[in-house]
Point group: D2
Chain length 368, copies 4
């Protein structure tokens, strides 16, 4: 991953500031001949759209995507696909008071220090608005995956809000689309709703943990040592705004296991393919997919834009107190779910192409 482009063959470059005229993504290296149109991409953007429910940002945007290149007569041409989303609902005056001050927990101060200039409106380039471009690119990846690897299914959901964990024994994936938290445990969703209402009224915020699973990923994807599938996934998720930790499979908890506890034993399934007794590994061994579910989790820190006063300084060095007004997410983790899915889609597709480039996709045979 480098600068504003990620990916090896399926290369995505995003651009655009929160309050600029537009933002977007250039998708380069897309396989040709794939059916693609604006409604297909719009579908995924709508899942992310702020203003959808009372728990997410109150900013109302159409988030309407346009395809400016790379598609002809309804199919991808193999040339760069430019996706553009115009910004239509910026309330610049909401941000006026922070032109001079650095909001604690945000990138205001680091962008100023690094670049000596910053577009302070809505966080500029550091705003989570950038993730709309990723979701658009992820939509393209999904359409390509439908053609090249139709068994792949990517699902993201929240497993934790603050200290409140969803109960895996009650998981029902059908519930994910039915509550505003993408939570597969309806009981937890109800508790979270109350908790979040309390926090909103107090002007506070809370973190979250999002899990993204890619099922049906063929074995053999990943480019060791430094293009390992888990390395690229870690970089992808860590690049999302406010993310502070990334896990594969057991994640940090793997440290607490013994070798006996952590083992995923192998047998031969009836379909002649390897079968694993468990999936502590999260679907990746030695940086290469095993064919099991690829399981990634990431932690999103609580929004730093809260309504209680925080101490900070202005660019002059003077002490300031800052109270962020305007539109805010009490739990940005919710909006990170579609973003995590999009990153998963892009990385899985990228590795599918990379693998067929180096090896032609032929697998070492097992059995027979």
């Amino acid at each position: 991953m480098s600068l504003n482009t990620f990916g090896h063959l399926f290369r995505v470059t995003t651009w655009g500031e929160s309050h600029g005229p537009a933002l977007g993504a250039t998708v380069d290296g897309c396989p040709p001949g794939v059916v693609l149109d604006e409604p297909m991409i719009q579908h995924w953007l709508d899942r992310r759209k702020p203003g959808q429910n009372k728990y997410t940002t109150q900013r109302r945007e159409a988030d309407a995507v346009r395809i400016l290149s790379g598609v002809f007569e309804g199919r991808t041409t193999g040339t760069p696909i430019q996706l553009m989303i115009e910004n239509t609902d910026q309330r610049s005056k909401d941000y006026g008071e922070i032109a001079e001050s650095f909001r604690p927990g945000h990138a205001d101060i680091t962008y100023w220090q690094k670049y000596g200039i910053r577009d302070y409106r809505g966080g500029g380039r550091s705003s989570a608005r950038e993730t709309a471009a990723r979701v658009a690119a992820g939509a393209v990846a999904r359409e390509v995956l439908k053609v090249l690897a139709p068994e792949v299914a990517i699902t993201g959901y929240m497993v934790q809000m603050g200290r409140l964990r969803a109960d895996r024994d009650r998981f029902d994936m059908a519930e994910v689309e039915r509550n505003p938290f993408w939570c597969p445990d309806p009981a937890a969703a109800a508790i979270w709703a109350e908790h979040l209402d309390d926090l909103r009224k107090s002007g506070n915020s809370v973190g979250a943990v999002v899990e993204v699973v890619a099922a049906g990923v063929p074995a053999g994807l990943g480019a060791p040592i430094y293009g390992k599938l888990d390395s690229d996934l870690a970089a992808a998720m860590m690049s999302i705004n406010a993310v502070k930790g990334v896990e594969i499979g057991e994640g940090m908890a793997a440290a607490e296991l013994t070798g006996v506890e952590n083992a995923d034993e192998i047998t031969l399934g009836d379909d002649g393919r390897p079968r694993y007794s468990s999936n502590h590994a999260g679907g990746i061994l030695g940086g290469i997919s095993t064919g099991q579910d690829v399981v990634v989790r990431f932690a999103v820190k609580p929004t730093s834009s809260i309504l209680s006063p925080r101490r900070t300084i202005a660019v002059t060095g003077e002490a300031r107190e800052i109270v962020t007004k305007g539109r805010h997410d009490p739990c940005v983790g919710i909006r990170a779910v579609p973003v995590g899915e999009a990153m998963m889609a892009c990385v899985i597709l990228d590795h599918l192409l990379l693998d067929r480039g180096q090896t032609g996709g032929r697998r070492g045979p097992i059995g027979r």
Copy 2:
């Protein structure tokens, strides 16, 4: 990060299998004129060397590094530096029985599936032996940092073994070099020693959590959005053998905090530089360093090479039971400490060069 090379400007390519003639690293893009010789690099390799104490691999290797290029009259030339370590103590017969079978939890099966061929001796390319090359490259990075950023100090240590956590209130960094666990809490080190003895006798293994801190990192390093400092660190640590989770600052625990709890407030220090009330962020905001300690943690899963039988299959598909004999680490996390330090050094230096490339290193002023 891509394939077997990582880094943007300070680019490291590693090569070599566990039981091949040699392994090594090509360091490209190294700034010229830096004093460098073999003993400097050897110093860091010796810290990693197996056979050092009874807790790590019994394989005895000289791990003697040679510099084959890129250094002239004791200084780096700016041309590629080839570091080579010859393998001198491989006991091939120890691995003979796994030529046909796939060790559970290792990359044997995924390498076979991806490549249709694998060097099974000692894990081939997937072996942790590869990390010796990283430590050598990290040594070069350290020497360059001494010249370009002498305030930078990188320290790695274990904070957890299995379920046993070291106590941060008892941390004394001087202890890190005094026990075989690089543990800053001497009481914990003693407990771990006992615990590990028990596990070794039972033939089991345990995981660990390693923390690496880079102090004195200037503010402004990182290349958002997809070359963020934390993204590159996440990819770097996740690429280390057996790592399953990576955290920055609060890490996964950030999810459990509220906005009020997580805030790192800002004031102006007496030295005219920003001062933070805390460091939940781990030294990185918006993917760019703040000037605070950069704090990274990663979890290492328990070694899959344990002495109790595990069920697996052979390449023919037949059911097998595998008992790994020979030399093993009961806790690979111990050996990952110098590796984590090496990766931190490479990434920090890389970003220092990248930053001075794009911005010339001038910082946006605060104060005055």
Copy 3:
């Protein structure tokens, strides 16, 4: 150079088809704080604009560029700069007859074979229209160079049309902007004007040779061995539509010289800097700039879109005769002059940043 992005630190990605809604360039890695606005970029695009005189394409386009990101309050932010040019004057019906056939000498057949789909309107992605995006990106590079290396001056001009060579003894650079051929020899310009009129009437076309000189380039730019300044320039110029040869300094003629004839001897100038007796090397030795004028030449083949019938096949394999109607350049070399300048600007700037990244820009001293 890779896919649709070129550059190492100053990275330009172009997108857009000839008859799509728009085309553009994403400029990533631009140093921050540089004054930039749309008129500055428009100035350079206007020099390239078709319809300017009777010798170039009759397509009338506003070629109006918009800056969609990366600039705030009139200065670059260091974040990606999206430049977009909307296509306003496509005459799609002009191209209808080639939907099924492959125009000889164009990329129609190769794009079809590679991608299995092609946007045939105006050549789609393979059209020289793409070079408008490069010129826009080159304009950004020029503005940055004014700040970082104000002594750098880039000038492109035609030295040959068909078999008619301009006379170097008559070169007067002030003439370059005074005739439609960017020719520094006014006598040659007059002869070329007649010659081109004849060819236009006969429906034929002719090739050209363009020379681009970068004066004032500091010594030390280039990243041997595979990022050599001349390698990157060769790739840059060869990537321009219809280019078939690239030369540095003496170019192909260097083969005909003896060592004695080709020598550029070195003395120390009065300013304490190295002075060269001549510049057969074209300003580059060992892939690194010497401080002399960097001299690059490239040959543009004659337009394949001519008005005489050519034999070809349709996608069905049937024999066809094709006569290209509509708007055409009788000598595309003319329009390649601003494009060559733009590529020179991008590559020089890229290497300036790359050099200061690896070495900090400090030079080995000579003299004193």
Copy 4:
């Protein structure tokens, strides 16, 4: 191409100085399962070996290559292949007098200026000795091509020495291996032999033009716009020591043709594939291969190491006269023939992998 690595998927990194302990190449991304051993690579190195005849460098080297990784039981594993050649015959004292002075026409001065340090022995990293590493890597590429694209045949030969052109009407490719000039025109070879003897006795040198042809390249290779096959070939050849010009097909002469003269018309061959009336394009249209012979030419300047005195300066700025003694090539173009072939092999293979990565290698159908 970047720094010391070239290639997108088949990535080659070279390292090593002329008088260092060794030099070599790391070949990354090599498809697995290809038969490879040291004698196969040695064969191609022997073709390049200095001291082979009286016309090339008198330095006698075994140039013995060792494979240190990436091959197991005689086949490539898909992991990095380290190829090492130890330097055994350096006569360091031959270069002693230039430790302080800069040889005109060489990279001595630019390396000093850029890096502030240089290994002056034998030109250090800037020496043509580096090309031995390329030839070794090219040998690996050839072996892979035998498996993946057995119809590809790569042949290089000299077409010009100084002002003496070989006669294409007399070309017999069987002659290429029979004379020391790799010249397909035996009459020209005889004339060149005399001419070179004269130049050697006078201590002068002469340039050359080398042509490399890749026959049997499938249509569809190349990654427009900035990964065009001809761009990558241009960069590859320009990166070779002493190269000053690169041509594809007609090359610089394309400028002198009219559209009618330059046309390669298309019909359908009996085999159902497109057939071209000629090959002015050199096998590449729009940056993508057509299936015709890919024809590349490059000009090598005369060796700057000649035995007549040249004026230069020392690092102190003092005027010096330099007479290069020791071992020299009167015509380095001869030795560039195997190097050009090696670069062609690497680039063709790289693009074959890249194409199958993005498109899966399926071609748009023509005919039926």
